[in-house]
């Protein structure tokens, strides 16, 4: 070949000037959008409340400290913002302490489902063949079980149920959707040209999965599981409300709702406050998940 190369190292600079924003496809300062700010603030507040309830109430964690049985069932007042419950305890303190169970269940169950789905879904999508067939059939079977019913059956096996029992029961049946989701996004990525390029360089399956497939396929799953946190929180509250979830001495919004049910005429505020907190928390997580989805996975709408 008798030609010469025109090498201009400076034309790197030109391209960079018109380069898009750092996060490809994301809008500028997406984190300043109202929906993201509001839902993010709710989520953050609830997480802080769950981790450090002492910050929000003057009373300590024990049920005895803030209770005075002589002052049973009083409506909200200046001294006791949310009133006083049947046992004579400050209801505001109880509701604050109730956040921990809900948030813990919601986040831990979603995190477990995320971990299982990421691993199993990646294997199914990447290897295909019989690996995929086995995993997909197991998913189909797990999918066929009604989620709440399956959780009830498992929870029945335990006499006293604490947060970890509930997490176990919910996590046991929460992953099939995520596995399918991850599988399909891996299927989309696995034949990309950069994956073929890595294979041509001699990369093994482990390396390809770790460096190329999972990092490029994980975002939709992350968004899905963030959206799922709200669902898990309401599942916990629902199971507890019908008496199959947490049992006393645990403290949770579901338990408070269940207890308040009997006094709905005499003390409606006992039902109202945990219900409001529960609704706002679930809404916060769902909106947060949707804000994330819109930014990172526009196709998922």
């Amino acid at each position: 070949m008798s030609t010469t190369t025109t090498v201009n190292p400076l034309d790197g600079a030109k391209a960079v000037d018109r380069a898009p924003d750092k996060v490809r496809g994301a809008h500028r300062r997406w984190w300043l959008k109202p929906r993201f700010v509001i839902s993010g603030a709710i989520v953050l507040l609830m997480i802080v409340m769950a981790a450090f309830p002492q910050l929000f109430t003057g009373f300590g964690p024990g049920p005895t400290e803030n209770c005075d049985i002589l002052k049973s069932n009083q409506p909200p007042s200046a001294e006791h913002l949310f009133g006083i419950d049947i046992q004579g305890c400050d209801y505001y303190t109880n509701v604050i302490y109730g956040a921990r169970a809900s948030i813990l269940v919601g986040i831990v169950v979603s995190a477990i489902a995320f971990g299982i789905a990421a691993l199993v879904g990646a294997l199914a999508g990447y290897f295909g063949g019989w690996v995929d067939a086995v995993i997909s059939r197991i998913c189909d079977m797990a999918f066929g079980l009604p989620f709440i019913l399956a959780a009830i059956v498992v929870l029945q096996l335990f006499g006293e149920r604490n947060v970890w029992t509930v997490i176990f029961a919910l996590a046991l049946f929460s992953w099939p959707g995520g596995v399918r989701f991850m599988r399909s996004s891996v299927l989309e990525v696995r034949n990309r040209e950069y994956v073929q390029a890595a294979r041509l360089l001699g990369a093994g399956n482990g390396r390809i999965l770790r460096k190329h497939i999972v990092p490029n396929a994980i975002t939709p799953l992350l968004v899905l599981q963030t959206l799922g946190v709200g669902g898990m929180i309401s599942a916990e509250a629902g199971l507890t409300f019908i008496g199959i979830g947490l049992t006393p001495p645990a403290v949770s919004w579901g338990l408070q709702l269940a207890a308040a049910r009997e006094y709905i005429d005499a003390a409606p505020h006992l039902l109202m406050f945990p219900a409001i907190f529960l609704t706002i928390t679930v809404l916060g997580f769902v909106l947060f998940g949707e804000a994330m989805r819109d930014e990172f996975d526009p196709k998922g709408k």
Binding site: M1, S2, T3, T4, T5, T6, V7, N8, P9, L10, D11, G12, A13, K14, A15, V16, A19, P20, R24, R192, E193, Y194, Q196, A197, A198, R199, L200, L201, G202, A203, G204, R207, K211, H212, P215, N216
Partner: protein
């Protein structure tokens, strides 16, 4: 610049070819139209023989769907042919496994059509170029890798200060240079360019083609250059193979295939390419082909081209021509090779 022709002594081909494929068939099963209906296959490649010589460029031309890209995938070892052998230095690459196969793969690299899609968007350029050495730690000692990457960047004409950037920070031409840098990192012997410049702007295209040409001189690479841009293939190739419906229908040196094409299909293909500068007093005869290429699921009987061939005779529909020599190193798969119609020069 593109019209500069290769003025060199014909390279002596005393030694055998570096890479060779023999009787390669690649058939993809198609979903049945009806349950229990006949199983059909797309015959993307249907008996292809080619040779790639050390330091030379083999150009592949043909219209869309003739099997060019499948050929690239089979040559690079991304896909195993249904039948036939892909030999590198006499060894069938598809009989190797594990570490041996990984070692073999170092020698044959592919440059992709879409430069952005061929780079992992979540890796920096440094990580992308470091990957070959992480996979083959013996290629360059750990301490020398950064220097090697800087050297690769300079070799393909990129600023080594941009290593921290991500692929989307670069233009298409620069992305393709990164792809080329990755491709040559492990000192391969064969580089397969599957439409490697088709997605680029015309001006950038020439730069990248020239880069490939200078790398060939510097590193002694062999290329398989697949493109639908006939001018570029002519510019860069030593030998050219024209394909139609999964078969090679003409091979020869670039001037044999381009200037003295024997197969009617090659002549039609070349006549359809627009020429920017036409020599004065030389009118161009456009050979129009009727219809679309037949489906590779049910290729025509006899000569595959007879359904569209301007010189076909009844016998072409029954017997299939072989790839027979029509000159020194020049072969065509046609019963009636030679120029079509009234020649006007």
């Amino acid at each position: 610049m593109l019209n500069t022709q290769l003025e060199q002594q014909p390279k002596d081909s005393v030694q055998g070819p570096l890479m060779e494929i023999r009787g390669v068939k690649m058939h993809y099963p198609v979903a049945r139209a009806m349950p229990f209906g006949p199983r059909k296959t797309v015959k993307a490649l249907d008996g292809v023989d080619l040779e790639i010589r050390q330091g030379e460029t083999l150009g592949i031309i043909g219209e869309s769907g003739c099997g060019k890209s499948t050929l690239a995938r089979v040559l690079s070892g991304l896909e195993k042919p249904t039948e036939g052998q892909v030999l590198f230095e006499g060894q069938d690459i598809n009989t190797l496994h594990g570490a041996e196969r990984a070692q073999m793969r170092r020698n044959i690299q592919l440059i992709f059509q879409d430069p952005y899609a061929s780079l992992n968007p979540r890796m920096t350029i440094e990580q992308i170029l470091m990957e070959p050495f992480e996979i083959h730690p013996d290629a360059v000692p750990r301490s020398g890798r950064r220097a090697k990457i800087a050297e690769l960047m300079a070799l393909v004409g990129l600023n080594p200060d941009h290593l921290e950037r991500y692929p989307h920070n670069f233009s298409g031409g620069q992305q393709q240079r990164i792809g080329i840098a990755r491709g040559i990192a492990l000192n391969p012997k064969v580089l397969i360019c599957d439409e490697a410049v088709s997605a680029l702007d015309v001006s950038v295209r020439a730069q990248v083609v020239n880069l490939l040409a200078s790398l060939q001189q510097e590193l002694g690479l062999s290329y398989v250059f697949i493109a639908h841009d006939l001018q570029i293939v002519r510019h860069i190739s030593d030998t050219v193979a024209a394909m139609y419906l999964g078969r090679v229908i003409e091979t020869g040196t670039y001037d044999q295939v381009y200037d003295r094409s024997a197969h009617p299909y090659t002549q039609a293909l070349l006549s359809a390419a627009p020429e920017l500068r036409q020599e004065p007093g030389k009118s161009r005869q456009l050979i129009m082909l009727q219809g679309d290429p037949p489906s590779p699921i049910d290729p025509p009987s006899g000569c595959r081209f007879h359904t569209r061939c301007p010189v076909a005779r009844p016998s072409c529909a029954t017997a299939e021509p072989g790839l027979d020599p029509v000159g020194e190193g020049h072969a065509a798969r046609c019963f009636f090779p030679g120029p079509i119609g009234p020649t006007n020069n």
